[in-house]
């Protein structure tokens, strides 16, 4: 990992950097590697569909799908909560499957079909899940909400497709939509306002309506 330039730092500095923060230390050497490469960052043209609309972008290769959506397409419904795949606020649907948009680079999605919260419904034309979140007050500050809603829509499909979870008791029987299954499968979406109890009720209502 260490580039030649980084060896110049004293043992004291090295200790400070390595003990204090892995982020700084590793990014440091990454930076050195970059300066030795070409001056301009590499960029790539990528074409994908977002909410049914074809989009073409010329992007720095380091651009995450999340930043492509938010900073380049200005679809800010998808939220950046941690940028590290730890909170789920950036959950979008890629070809129907839920994905943390911060953990995947935009250029990896050539030809993919991406659905964000904006693609599910609009204020005057709410998706059933959006309407159920409003009805059950499945949010407070609203920042994790796009991820919760996208995640829950895909999650119900996963149960329908009989994909088991950690709490599925009988792997030979069809997967069921129970509160325990919903809670387990939604645990990648953190809500610090603590609306979980209401979110489960919203999802349960939508699941019941579908069944």
């Amino acid at each position: 990992m260490q580039s030649p330039g980084a060896l110049e730092i004293s043992r004291r500095d090295l200790l400070a950097a390595s003990a204090a923060t892995v982020t700084v230390a590793s990014a440091h050497s990454l930076g050195h590697a970059q300066t030795k490469a070409t001056t301009a960052p590499q960029s790539t043209k990528v074409t994908f569909t977002v909410n049914g609309e074809g989009r073409e972008l010329q992007l720095d290769n380091r651009t995450t799908l999340l930043d492509a959506l938010r900073e380049h397409l200005h679809l800010t419904g998808t939220k950046k909560g941690c940028d590290h795949g730890q909170c789920g606020a950036c959950t979008v649907l890629i070809d129907g499957r839920r994905v943390n948009a911060c953990l995947t680079l935009a250029v990896m999605h050539e030809g993919d079909s991406i659905t964000t919260l904006e693609g599910l419904g609009q204020p005057e034309n709410l998706h059933p899940m959006q309407a159920a979140f409003v009805k059950h007050d499945g949010f407070q500050c609203g920042y994790c909400t796009p991820g919760q809603i996208c995640s829950s829509v895909a999650m119900l499909e996963e149960i329908k497709a009989n994909i088991p979870s950690h709490v599925t008791v009988d792997l030979t029987a069809p997967a069921e939509i129970t509160p325990a299954e919903i809670r387990e499968r939604m645990s990648g979406n953190i809500c610090r306002c603590g609306a979980y109890s209401n979110i489960v009720e919203a999802i349960t209502e939508v699941a019941g309506r579908k069944a």
């Binding site: 500095d13 001056t39 909560g81 809670r183 953190i190 306002c193």
Partner: protein, 732 residues
């Protein structure tokens, strides 16, 4: 409008809109991605630049030099602003640690530079090229080690009545225990973020702030400019819990970077900066002593708390509730503050009471057991209707007993086994716990402006914020009730420094105070309407169904607006009713847990909160506040702890993977009951706070349930498996 006598009957009492379960009016925006948060403001004609923060890699010391040559020449870089480059900046009134400026390092991850580039990716990469030469100094990072050096905080704070020592000595039943609570992080979902744009000397900042005017004032102070030149906007806030009360580095860095780059600049603090760059709830060591007669009456109660902070900071006021919650003629409380070089400690949801109740309500459970009393009954025996330190000062309204009795009945408390560790279902040990909830009701002056147009549309403007609390909705309900229009006819604009200064959001004062400010402005508008429509009498005026009525005469409200519209502005100013009467909010938490006999894993099976907190303005949003607080309380009980690296002086687990907040799988269905009451001493709304009451006592109720399940008493939060596993029974 001055509020210095108890509220009489007023239009809010009609309860046509206020008190109704109206879904959030901002719900459709928040569920469709149309609510715009700080970092998301976008003008297609503006080329925004991206700022990326560089934080200190040491906890205490000085910057000898910074080498930014590589960063400056990195691809896309527009500017590099360093703290040694800008020199000393004035510190805002509300901050303990400096946000930026100078060469002194006060804590780990303190901002020392911001790198501005054309794109986020370029700024981030270039920020990693900044090289810093530090002169590191030894710091104090361990509260336990620093405890003996702790001193009485500025302004004192020791309190007492009677003769505690003598009464405790003489008490036939006694408890003397020490409890600890760890440093905790707010961990709100939206990271701190700001966009700053200069137009000559005028600065516009889109940010994420709970308190618009505090931020505006402190940003002007920090930058050394006139407050009039600063325009702040924060209409949607992705959670705060106290960490967005005071100006933060993102706003300062964005403003300085935008000035240097001569372009609008966006800065968001990366998630791993939250724990060490901003504030946290400080750890405490608390000693509680209780003495009681065999009849269960407390005769002596003492609560002492030790916490630490940076020089100039304050203590965690963890003894606050013990001054007021239970009777007892002989009492004392004391706080001692140690100097620690950790990041700044400051307010997090229910500062004082949240960690204080974590300790006190275990102590009460322990004491009840020693007395052979049911913990619900022990609390009821020691209820007080007056301030125990000052018995001639009554509570404005206090129904703790009702909360405990209602909760016990609803929860099936009689099913609880009196013997700990006696109930088992397979591998699960089952237990129930109870704790009182208590949080003071604070009041802050709050202003609002109300407009009426010829269509009969009412627009409310105030710099109040909605951090998820439901401000938009309860403010719309208030205006609708006061002016007799349906809620669909009310528009609410919040979080803009051009609007009248409000209470802001914090200390659970925002709901009551901001709606009281809107009440005041609406009362003024009602007068203007009456005058405009030529009503001579005002004492019998009724505003209902879009009309104004007096006797047989009725006029459409909209007619008063005319073509120009009508506008009224006012401020609710609180007198000394909080001095003459103790105003607090009350509740009872009931929890059932299951503890795995083999692993010590605790699962929460059932939760109930019963709250007595004045008028409930909207049972949907109020309930959400309470279940959210209960959830955070579960985190405090079981998982949340900022782990201190005592050698290098920083919080190690500084992200959402390692700082464990509750997730879906941790939280069962939650029940909340509001007792039907009003408190005319609190405001014309007769409401009190609810948002913080919900967290107070939850962790102790969990701890007491774990004790009831296992017979293991843990006094050091969080109650992780390692603290249980040694003493769990043999697996049969």
């Amino acid at each position: 409008m001055r509020f210095d006598t108890p509220a009489a009957t007023n239009p809010i009492d009609q309860g046509k809109v206020i008190g109704k379960p109206i879904p959030r009016i901002d719900g459709p925006l928040k569920t469709t991605g149309k609510a715009i948060y700080a970092y998301e403001w976008h003008d297609p004609n503006t080329r925004y630049a991206y700022g990326y923060i560089v934080g200190s890699a040491i906890a205490k010391g000085r910057i000898r030099s910074m080498d930014v040559a590589a960063a400056r020449t990195a691809p896309g870089v527009i500017a590099v602003v360093t703290s040694d480059g800008v020199g000393e900046l004035k510190k805002g009134k509300y901050n303990t640690a400096k946000l930026f400026g100078g060469t002194e390092i006060q804590h780990y991850h303190q901002a020392i530079a911001v790198v501005v580039a054309e794109t986020f990716e370029e700024a981030r990469a270039a920020a990693a090229l900044v090289k810093v030469d530090y002169a590191e100094e030894k710091g104090a990072f361990d509260l336990t080690a620093a405890k003996d050096s702790a001193i009485e905080p500025e302004g004192g704070g020791d309190s007492g009545a009677g003769d505690f020592d003598a009464a405790f000595e003489a008490a036939p039943v006694k408890l003397d225990q020490v409890y600890t609570t760890p440093d905790q992080s707010h961990a709100m979902m939206e990271p701190h973020a700001s966009i700053a744009a200069w137009n000559g000397d005028d600065l516009t900042v889109w940010t994420s702030s709970q308190m618009i005017d505090w931020w505006r004032t402190d940003l002007a102070t920090t930058l050394g400019i006139d407050k009039d030149k600063v325009h702040l906007m924060s209409p949607f806030i992705g959670g705060g819990f106290g960490v967005k009360l005071f100006l933060r580095a993102d706003a300062v860095l964005a403003a300085l970077a935008a000035r240097e780059a001569k372009r609008p600049v966006k800065v968001a603090l990366p998630r791993p900066f939250l724990m060490n760059n901003t504030t946290h709830r400080p750890a405490t060591i608390q000693r509680i002593r209780i003495g009681a007669g065999r009849d269960g009456k407390i005769t002596a109660i003492a609560h002492e708390s030790w916490s630490g902070d940076l020089p100039g900071g304050g203590p965690e006021v963890a003894v606050q509730q013990t001054r007021l919650l239970y009777a007892g003629a002989n009492r004392m409380t004391a706080m001692r503050l140690a100097t620690l070089d950790l990041p700044e400690g400051n307010a997090m949801r229910a500062p004082g009471e949240a960690p204080g109740m974590m300790a006190l309500e275990i102590a009460i459970d322990e004491m009840a057991e020693r007395l052979g009393l049911d913990p619900v009954e022990f609390r009821i025996i020691n209820d007080t209707q007056v301030d125990p330190e000052n018995p001639e000062r009554p509570f404005s309204h206090r129904n703790l007993v009702g909360c405990l009795r209602t909760g016990a009945e609803r929860f099936g408390w009689q099913e609880r086994s009196k013997q700990p560790g006696a109930r088992r279902e397979g591998n699960w040990l089952i237990g129930m716990g109870v704790a009182a909830a208590f949080r003071n009701n604070l009041v802050l002056n709050s202003g609002a402006r109300v407009r009426l147009d010829r269509e009969g549309v009412v627009t409310v403007e105030t710099d109040m914020t909605d951090i998820g609390t439901g401000s938009y909705t309860i403010i719309a309900q208030t205006a609708a009730e006061m002016l007799g229009v349906p809620i669909e006819k009310v528009a609410v604009s919040l979080g803009d420094s051009r609007f009248p200064v409000s209470s802001g959001s914090g200390g659970q004062f925002g709901g009551n105070c901001s709606t009281a400010g809107v009440y005041a402005a609406c009362a003024k508008l009602r007068e203007a309407v009456a005058q405009k429509l030529g009503f001579n009498r005002t004492d019998d005026l009724v505003f209902a169904d879009g009309e104004v009525r007096s006797g047989d005469r009725r006029m459409p409200l909209a007619q008063a607006a005319g073509d120009e519209g009508l506008v009224a502005e006012d401020l609710i100013e609180f007198g000394d009713l909080t001095k003459t009467h103790q105003q607090s909010t009350f509740g009872a938490h009931f929890v059932e847990v299951a503890v795995d006999v083999a692993t010590g894993e605790t699962r929460i099976r059932r939760m109930l909160a019963v709250c007595a907190a004045g008028r409930i303005l909207n049972p949907i949003t109020a309930r959400s506040q309470v279940i959210g607080a209960m959830t955070m309380g579960v985190g405090g009980a079981l998982t949340e702890e900022l782990v201190v690296d005592k050698k290098r002086g920083f919080f190690v687990n500084h992200d959402l993977a390692a700082y464990e907040v509750p997730v879906h799988a941790d939280i069962p269905h939650q029940e909340v009951v509001f007792l039907d009451e009003t408190d005319p001493m609190s405001s014309p709304m007769k409401a009190k706070g609810i948002a913080e009451l919900g967290i107070c006592g939850v962790a102790a109720a969990v701890a007491n349930a774990i004790y009831n399940a296992t017979g293991i008493r843990v006094r050091e939060y969080p109650i992780t498996l390692d603290k249980l596993i040694e003493e769990l029974p043999e697996i049969s």
